[in-house]
């Protein structure tokens, strides 16, 4: 519950706000492996459909009207995976797609215009919830900022000296950092301090640690 609004942290590494019927996806980095290949790095080709279906499953199981990509949607310059992605989201004609631009989103604006994706720097929802790729500077204290960018992860120690590196949601003051949605992304490890709360993605659950 943030600013009186229910905010669901999903184990699929996404956020859902039921009141607004908004699904938030951060740092997908689509097209990353294809970009590597194009630049001459040896990576096996991976069907892009596998990644797209992960979004599809979410859209089918939740009453979503609007999807906000919290930046770093596409990894780098254009490649064929972008077209596959656009084609795929067209099959969800009842859903609006918005992107708050991130540092990786270097596709020219025309490409976004051709697509049905709306481009914004940041979005403010009712209840003072602000969505952006990186934290908004000088945001007043009564607002909540949902951001991505750093791919938060945490180290959890279980019994028998087991250690787990897991993606997590990270809440510090009024900033909630969302984990990266993309399968082929890394983790930036964060430590818990006094005024932070960490919600780790453990299998099919999100648990506070």
């Amino acid at each position: 519950m943030l600013n009186g609004r229910e905010v669901l942290l999903l184990p699929q590494k996404a956020v859902f706000i039921p009141q607004d019927e908004i699904l938030i996806i951060s740092d997908w980095h689509l097209g990353k492996l294809a970009h590597f290949r194009k630049e001459g790095l040896l990576v096996p080709s991976v069907p892009v459909a596998d990644e797209l279906n992960r979004l599809g499953e979410l859209l089918e199981s939740l009453p979503v009207k609007k999807v906000v990509f919290l930046g770093d949607l596409f990894h780098s310059r254009w490649n064929t995976e972008w077209d596959a992605f656009i084609l795929y989201i067209h099959s969800f004609s009842h859903i609006r797609f918005v992107l708050t631009k991130g540092n990786h989103d270097i596709l020219p604006d025309e490409i976004f215009k051709e697509s049905s994706i709306q481009l914004l720097d940041q979005i403010e929802l009712e209840g003072g919830i602000v969505l952006s790729h990186e934290p908004v500077k000088n945001l007043s204290d009564d607002k909540i900022n949902l951001v991505g960018h750093i791919h938060p992860g945490c180290m959890i120690t279980g019994q028998g000296r087991q250690q787990f590196r897991l993606p997590c949601f990270h809440l510090e003051n009024n900033i909630l950092t969302v984990p990266a949605f993309g399968k082929w992304t890394g983790l930036h490890m964060l430590k818990k301090t006094g005024n932070t709360r960490i919600f780790a993605v453990v299998n099919d659950a999100v648990l506070e640690v």
Binding site: L33, A34, K38, L42, V43, Q159, G186, V202
Partner: protein, 809 residues
């Protein structure tokens, strides 16, 4: 007889050794060969005068005076290259010869390199990587056309690494360019000298072996604490013995203090300076991450006898001769007999002098290694260097190198590499699969329309993209390092480099120890860290990745021998007697095993249930045994284990409790199905994943970035773990992936030795004990910080367990 040598030796007032004369004779006969000689006896001159003699004899016969490259001298270390260059060009100067010798290493400026290409010297002193860089330039075939000699210095060092594979490949190419090429290697004594010779010279070679047969006196002493009771049971630092180490340093002229890691050397330096401020100015530090400027200063000061002591790492292991050094101190286990002797040889460098080396144990059980080292040296136990085979990562890099250079004639190069030891067993199909990865980015059958690396032109594969060629040249080599950041003062003075992961943990104003100085972090700009001298007393010490090797099997053998003598009645060494109270404590808390007994301890602590087993088989074998046992225990009851192993034993720690009794132990220690149980261990995948990191770097999968141009390549950054996952999921038969698994079985698990170990254990009587607390044997294993994981619960169910644990809190 060699005229040049005769004159020069007479001028110096020296008399040549027999092995030098022998080498000159063989070289005059046009032979290739391997010279086996210790450092400090003039092995460089043994080869060098052979080269000179050949050059002038040949020049007198030929009228053609065009300058071409006559010899290549390859060393594993830049510092050594400089030393050889000094010696060789000194000979040319002394005898007023026009034989021109130049250095070509990573430090050589671009303009000097271009000059070397246009107007080649007679001889280049260089490294394996630089030879490959030469092969990666246009016109390299013509450049090597008249090359008569390749000399590989410290061949034993290169042999057991992938840099040795680089040499095998380079030699196979140059031999094909000029069939008259003669190859000479210089090697210290190793367990498999014959094999080393065959790998260097090729199958069915007609080369010779020249052995120096010179004896060097070595005196080994162990520095013992005042009493065993207050000496720690675990640890790797050894700071407890600081005062005694300083006492030893004060007895000698000049001492090298060897540590096993760079951070350990920083800590030792800091501790000595803090406690003994009088050492300021006469104590220095030397390791691989420091800037050349600092290292050269330290090396020169050592030569001139201006330093009382230098704290160093393997960076001072090789070749270079510091005459004033008359004592060596080894902190912690040297991990190998050959390395220990090599380091000992850094003192008393002249033939008739004795080398003094002091061994400083870092924990109580390690004291026993003092006994083991003496035994190993007396018994002439020496390690073998195991060469790499089927290193597809290096092959892929090499094929790309040739394509960037004069172009790759696929079939011809296949014939050439088939004659190397490394790729002897590679099939044509495997070779073309490697090539196909470069051409199509994978197997030919898949559609890869976006991938262009190699293009076929006039039957040669070439690289057309300038960007790709440039990127490849930057990543040539078989040493994979992490992203390094340069540490600089505000004024711009460069101190050295630290891994990015360490810097990432620091904030502005934090103090850390580096290059023996206390530094405060000011700011970070791109890949540069700016610092100033700090006034604060406390600081952290950076840790560097890598450099973590386990004890060699041969030292392991010597350690087992020492443990056997615990129960001996007579002739116990000083070290063993000193350890007696510790063994008494072990007997009191648990059991002190006899020679034919296998001790097993099962202890419960707040961490969980610990199963300790002490086979004394060496760390590598223990790691494998632990995997097998974990797998077999997992069959009885699914569980996840955290595994730790040392030279003496290993530990399986789990939150799951087992009813341990003799029947169960007999089951899990049985010899049957060993191979199947080993391969079923899920952890092989984890080990392969770690191996894959280097493989991906060498094969060019992971691009490390242009130096100083970090931003532009940010979109290409990814860790090898990601590639491993992609390959496992979408191309599981890939050769590089298979190589990672093969390396695990050959180098990490050493299956053959493990079979023997299991058989040996089966003859032993099992002694099972349930101590209340950790025992002196158990403690070092328990506190090993580096642990393996094993689980036969899948990732999902392990996460389920974790979920329940968190929920229960």
């Amino acid at each position: 007889m060699n005229e040049f040598a005769e004159v020069w030796f007479a001028n110096q007032g020296w008399k040549p050794h027999h092995f030098q004369e022998e080498t000159w004779r063989k070289m005059a006969q046009g032979k290739s060969g391997l010279l086996n000689a210790p450092t400090g006896f003039g092995k460089t001159f043994a080869i060098w005068f052979g080269i000179l003699e050949h050059y002038y004899r040949q020049r007198d016969q030929k009228k053609n005076r065009k300058n071409t490259l006559h010899s290549l001298w390859i060393t594993p270390l830049r510092a050594l290259s400089k030393e050889i260059h000094k010696a060789a060009s000194g000979v040319s100067d002394d005898l007023e010869l026009d034989y021109r010798v130049e250095l070509r290493t990573g430090d050589t400026s671009v303009s000097a390199r271009q000059k070397q290409r246009k107007n080649p010297p007679h001889s280049l002193i260089t490294t394996p990587e630089s030879v490959h860089l030469l092969l990666a330039t246009k016109g390299s075939t013509a450049y090597f056309e008249n090359l008569e000699f390749i000399v590989v210095d410290e061949w034993h060092e290169l042999l057991g690494s992938k840099r040795g594979v680089l040499m095998e490949l380079a030699m196979s190419r140059i031999k094909a360019i000029n069939p008259k090429l003669k190859i000479w290697g210089i090697s210290a004594t190793i367990g498999n000298l014959e094999e080393a010779q065959e790998i260097l010279l090729g199958k069915n070679h007609k080369g010779v072996m020249v052995k120096a047969n010179l004896k060097k006196k070595v005196e080994i002493r162990t520095i013992l604490p005042d009493n065993i009771e207050t000496f720690p049971w675990a640890g790797h630092l050894g700071i407890k013995l600081l005062d005694k180490v300083v006492d030893v340093v004060n007895q000698y002229n000049s001492t090298l203090i060897f540590t096993n890691t760079r951070s350990q050397s920083e800590i030792w330096y800091q501790q000595i300076i803090t406690k003994y401020p009088e050492f300021a100015g006469i104590l220095a530090i030397h390791h691989g991450s420091l800037s050349d400027e600092i290292r050269v200063w330290v090396e020169n000061a050592l030569h001139e006898g201006r330093l009382k002591a230098v704290v160093c790492t393997s960076s001072l292991d090789l070749g270079v001769d510091f005459r004033p050094v008359d004592c060596v101190i080894q902190i912690g286990s040297p991990k190998g007999v050959a390395r220990f002797l090599q380091r000992a040889g850094r003192s008393g460098h002249r033939p008739d002098e004795t080398s003094y080396i002091y061994f400083v144990p870092t924990n109580s059980l390690e004291i026993i290694e003092g006994d083991s080292l003496k035994y190993a040296v007396a018994d002439k136990i020496l390690e073998q260097r195991m060469p790499y085979i089927r290193s597809f990562d290096v092959l892929i890099q090499y094929l790309m190198t040739l394509a960037v250079g004069d172009g790759l004639d696929a079939q011809r190069v296949y014939e050439e590499i088939k004659n190397t030891h490394c790729f002897d067993s590679v099939t044509e199909e495997e070779y073309y699969e490697c090539l196909s990865m470069l051409i199509h980015g994978g197997k030919t059958l898949s559609a890869y329309e976006e991938f262009h690396r190699l293009v076929l032109k006039d039957n040669l594969y070439v690289v057309e993209s300038k960007k790709l060629a440039m990127r490849h040249r930057l990543s040539i080599g078989a040493i994979v390092s992490d992203v390094m950041m340069s540490v600089k003062f505000l004024g711009g003075k460069y101190l050295g480099s630290i891994e990015e992961s360490f810097i990432a943990k620091l904030r502005k104003g934090d103090v850390f120890w580096f290059a023996g100085r206390q530094l405060e972090l000011l700011h970070i700009r791109a890949m540069e860290v700016f610092v100033k001298a700090a006034a604060k007393k406390k600081g952290v010490v950076p840790s560097w990745m890598g450099g973590r090797f386990s004890i060699s099997p041969d030292l392991g053998l010597a350690i087992r021998h020492s443990f056997r003598s615990i129960h001996a009645v007579r002739n116990k060494s000083h070290e063993i007697k000193f350890l007696q109270p510790l063994f008494n404590e072990q007997a009191k808390r648990s059991v002190l095993p006899e020679e034919d007994e296998l001790l097993i301890e099962y202890i419960h602590t707040r961490y969980g249930h610990h199963l300790f087993i002490y086979p004394f088989e060496g760390k590598l074998v223990h790691e494998g045994m632990a995997q097998v046992l974990a797998y077999r225990l997992g069959l009885i009851k699914p569980a996840t284990f955290s595994i730790s192993s040392t030279e003496y034993g290993f530990e399986l720690l789990s939150s799951t409790e087992y009813a341990i009794d003799e029947a169960l132990l007999n089951t899990i220690l049985s010899v049957g199905n060993l191979h199947e149980d080993l391969t079923s261990g899920i952890n092989v995948r984890e080990m392969a994943r770690r191996r894959f990191r280097d493989i991906a770097g060498i094969a060019g999968l992971v691009f490390q970035g242009y130096p100083g141009k970090e931003m532009k390549t940010k979109h290409l950054q990814a860790n090898a773990g990601l590639f491993f996952n992609v390959f496992e999921e979408y191309d599981s038969k890939n050769l590089l992936l298979r190589q990672a698994y093969d390396e695990v079985f050959d180098f990490q698990l050493e299956e053959g030795r493990m079979q023997l170990a299991f058989r040996r254990i089966n003859d032993h009587k099992i002694v099972l004990s349930f101590p209340d607390t950790l025992t002196p044997f158990a403690f070092p294993v328990f506190s090993e910080s580096f642990r393996e994981k094993y689980s036969n619960e899948d990732w999902q169910s392990r996460l389920e367990t974790l979920k329940n644990q968190i929920a229960a809190k």
